[in-house]
């Protein structure tokens, strides 16, 4: 037994040393161009704006599909687009908002349908790898960290040999093209926090998420948003809810369930809803690579519509006026 334990220990030590060595050799550059690293720039902008601002957030539909610069021009209030990824989960996004909002801000929450509550740990951890404060937005745990550490080491090990593994090669090549590093990269964002890397790219020819079948459930996000809303009001911050963009062909298929969700939101959500689901329904050709990512044309249409919705909302207008007059009263 002693011999077995010594040998096992030796093997384990060599294995662990190899892992540490791989991580040591593959030390990453200080600047990361990973898509999730954009969280640094977004929060840097949010922190740098001292006066009340408009914060846009939600899943990647907001990152890909709104022209914040246009919005800023239209209302002469600074705009920050905090949105990154749907799979970060609603809980993460609301905690991030709690961290980012300041008195007098206006928040537009544009949430994809049946947005997940908790999100993916891997993505959440990624954000805090780049932006330490993001640890406040989820619950880090050492066990999942160990799993991620090993997985990351594996990827670095593959990088060392400068090749792709078989599994990585087996994806749909078209899909891999659309996950273009120029689009899914920190460098693809503009200074407002919008993804603009895809605007001049050709649509890959298909939409991921197509054929999504919604199953009705009372969406747990409603109570989470209401809870956030109570916190925001104490901070004198106003919050407005928006339905996300959706391709017309899929919208008709999911219409019944979306209508049920809308009815639940109307009855239970304490936050004012600015639009109807139909307002952001566009032809499939206005989408880029997923059912929530608008392309250049779709983004322009949606921004125009959003400006119109804001202009027509008495409560938002009142809030904007009070920001401009320096009197940040909550309605």
């Amino acid at each position: 037994m002693r011999k077995f334990l010594i040998h096992s220990f030796l093997l384990l030590t060599i294995f662990s040393a190899t892992i540490i060595l791989i991580n040591f050799i593959s030390e990453e550059d200080e600047y990361s161009s990973d898509y999730m690293a954009a969280i640094i720039d977004k929060h840097e902008r949010a922190n740098s704006i001292k006066e009340p601002k408009i914060i846009l957030t939600g899943g990647s539909n907001v990152a890909f599909g709104i022209d914040s610069e246009e919005l800023q021009k239209a209302f002469s209030i600074p705009v920050v687009n905090l949105a990154l990824h749907r799979q970060l989960g609603l809980s993460f996004i609301l905690k991030e908002l709690k961290y980012a909002i300041k008195e007098g801000d206006i928040v537009f929450l544009c949430i994809e349908y049946f947005f997940p509550g908790e999100g993916e740990y891997k993505l959440q951890r990624h954000t805090s790898d780049y932006y330490k404060e993001a640890e406040l937005f989820y619950s880090p745990n050492k066990y999942d960290d160990l799993k991620l550490y090993l997985e990351e080491t594996r990827l670095k090990y593959i990088d060392l040999f400068n090749s792709e593994n078989v599994g990585a090669k087996q994806g749909n090549p078209d899909l891999k093209d659309s996950m273009n590093p120029l689009v899914y990269s920190r460098d693809a964002f503009n200074k407002y926090g919008d993804v603009v890397g895809h605007l001049d790219k050709k649509n890959p020819g298909f939409l991921r998420g197509r054929g999504t079948v919604f199953k009705y459930r009372f969406w747990e996000g409603i109570s989470a948003i209401n809870e956030f809303y109570a916190y925001a009001r104490e901070m004198n911050v106003n919050v407005f809810y928006l339905f996300p963009p959706y391709p017309s062909s899929d919208f008709s298929k999911g219409y019944d369930i979306i209508s049920q969700l809308r009815s639940d939101l109307n009855s239970h959500l304490k936050v004012e809803i600015l639009n109807a689901p139909e307002d952001f329904v566009y032809p499939d050709s206005d989408f880029f690579d997923t059912i929530y990512h608008l392309n250049k044309n779709g983004r322009a249409k949606r921004t125009k519509k959003l400006i119109e919705l804001i202009a027509n909302s008495g409560n938002v207008q009142e809030q904007i006026r009070s920001i401009k007059s320096g009197n940040h009263a909550s309605y």
Binding site: M1, Y157, V166, G167, K169, Q170
Partner: protein, 479 residues
């Protein structure tokens, strides 16, 4: 808990240390630990399933004791029937209820009637087909007087739930495994090292061969209408490797893990793709299940004795039941039927026991005749696997239609050179290791020790490098 998970990599060393250092005072303590950790292992999926395995174990434990106390044949039959009813009842309820309801409805629809049946929304408990068969073997052997019932309830419960082989076999016979729970276990260095080596090889088969094939197979089977015949053929070939790597990989990990605890489990796969006829294939593929059906179904039915019609009937019964065991879908039944058709001529011509030894024993290469026979047998197996993998019988026939179309000879749309090279290397390793219990066992012969260690690290490196991005659950868990 999956064998190819971090959870298991933490779980196994902890249990190993507890087993040999803390609970090593008596067999009772070691069995008790094995029982507890086996329930943790199983409950990791869903703790509610534990109630089934506990109930099943209780029933068979008490029926075993009752059987030993009564000589009344009628009463003994009744006890056996009760055990079979409980075990097969669970299996039928959780695995086959919806299948029978759907088939019933379809049959009625054919006659012009239609109705909305009550379907159950129950989850299939992981590994139910495996442990049910294991515990049934105990009761049947006690009934037949081949085995003395145990009165040690902890040993019996640990036998039914022994975590290395609980969810996907090998389906151990009580005669082989149960006595091992009553024997003093001594740690043996060579056995433990061999166990670790077999675990490593099992992980290689599962994580590299099976999981990488699975990605391509899923793509091709799902979008079969868009691919040429040659690509569909490639999909079927890849599936043959996937199912072998997946299932035999699991068995290797199970056998290796059991060895770490001083237990010997039966060999479950003996290089089936090197078989020279279908009879040999079935002696080498999923051995624990084939022999289970042989002993508890085929032979009681009369086996190969009796009239030709009885022989034919028995062959079809055993293969179709074996197919149905795999899942509640007509595809498995057709797969079983097809294998019966393959096997039938050999049996009727009394040629089903021609090839008992491994092919080209003691030689590097097979003869041309052997190579041809192996190729033919493999080809037939690949065709049958299409039914096994397809979602429905219609899907399987459409897939076959696409495969045997004009485009069969065209250049395939999907050619993954890395994967093909891997499969080639894997086949070579299997070929050169075919006389051992598992292909990688030969590594133990390498001298000096650093060379062996280099090979181990090389395989670990391959696991890291070629591991598929999306780990797949073991295919056989669904059975």
């Amino acid at each position: 808990m999956l064998f190819n998970s971090i959870e298991f990599a933490i779980f196994l060393p902890i249990v190993f240390l507890l087993y040999w250092f803390i609970f090593n005072k008596s067999i009772f303590f070691q069995n008790f630990l094995l029982l507890v950790v086996s329930y943790i292992f199983y409950g990791w999926w869903d703790w509610r399933f534990l109630s089934l395995i506990i109930f099943s174990s209780l029933v068979d434990y008490f029926i075993g004791i009752k059987l030993s106390k009564t000589g009344n044949q009628r009463r003994r039959k009744l006890l056996l029937t009760a055990s079979l009813l409980v075990n097969l009842g669970f299996l039928g309820f959780f695995k086959y209820f919806n299948f029978f309801v759907d088939s019933f409805v379809e049959a009625f629809t054919l006659f012009g009637s239609s109705f909305e049946p009550t379907r159950l929304s129950v989850i299939l408990p992981v590994g139910i087909s495996f442990y049910t068969f294991q515990t049934m073997s105990y009761t049947i052997d006690v009934y037949k007087g081949k085995l003395q019932p145990t009165r040690d309830i902890i040993a019996f419960f640990a036998f039914v739930s022994f975590f290395p082989q609980l969810v996907a076999g090998p389906i151990e016979r009580a005669k082989n495994l149960l006595p091992q729970f009553s024997e003093k276990r001594r740690f043996e260095y060579d056995k433990a090292v061999d166990g670790l080596r077999q675990i490593l090889w099992g992980l290689f088969k599962k994580m590299i061969i099976a999981d990488n094939c699975a990605v391509v197979v899923d793509e091709i089977f799902f979008n079969y209408a868009e691919y040429s015949g040659s690509t569909l053929l490639m999909g079927a070939l890849f599936f043959s490797f996937q199912i072998y790597g997946d299932f035999s990989g699991y068995s290797d990990i199970a056998i290796g893990t059991a060895r770490l605890f001083g237990f010997s489990l039966m060999q479950n796969f003996a290089f089936p793709y090197f078989s020279r006829d279908m009879a040999e294939f079935w002696r080498r593929w999923h051995i624990s299940l084939s022999t289970w059906f042989r002993d508890y179904l085929y032979i009681p039915l009369g086996g190969s004795r009796g009239s030709m019609w009885a022989k034919i009937r028995n062959i079809f019964i055993i293969f179709i039941v074996s197919g149905f065991w795999h899942g509640a879908n007509w595809t498995f039944i057709v797969w079983g039927g097809l294998n019966a058709l393959y096997f039938l001529p050999l049996s009727l011509l009394n040629k089903n026991r021609t090839n008992l030894d491994i092919v080209a024993k003691g030689k590097y290469l097979p003869t041309i005749r052997e190579a041809f026979n192996m190729g033919l047998t493999f080809g037939l197996t690949v065709l049958a696997w299409v039914f096994f993998r397809a979602e429905s019988v219609t899907h399987a026939f459409a897939y076959m239609g696409g495969m045997f179309s004009d485009s069969l000879l065209s250049y395939p749309e999907i050619v993954i050179k890395n994967l093909i090279l891997l499969l080639g290397a894997f086949t070579l390793i299997e070929w050169f290791g075919r006389e051992g219990q598992y292909a990688f066992a030969n590594v133990s012969l390498l001298r000096p020790r650093p060379l062996r260690w280099f090979v181990y690290f090389f395989v670990i490196g391959l696991l890291f490098y070629f591991k598929a991005n999306q780990p797949q659950p073991f295919v056989y868990f669904q059975f």
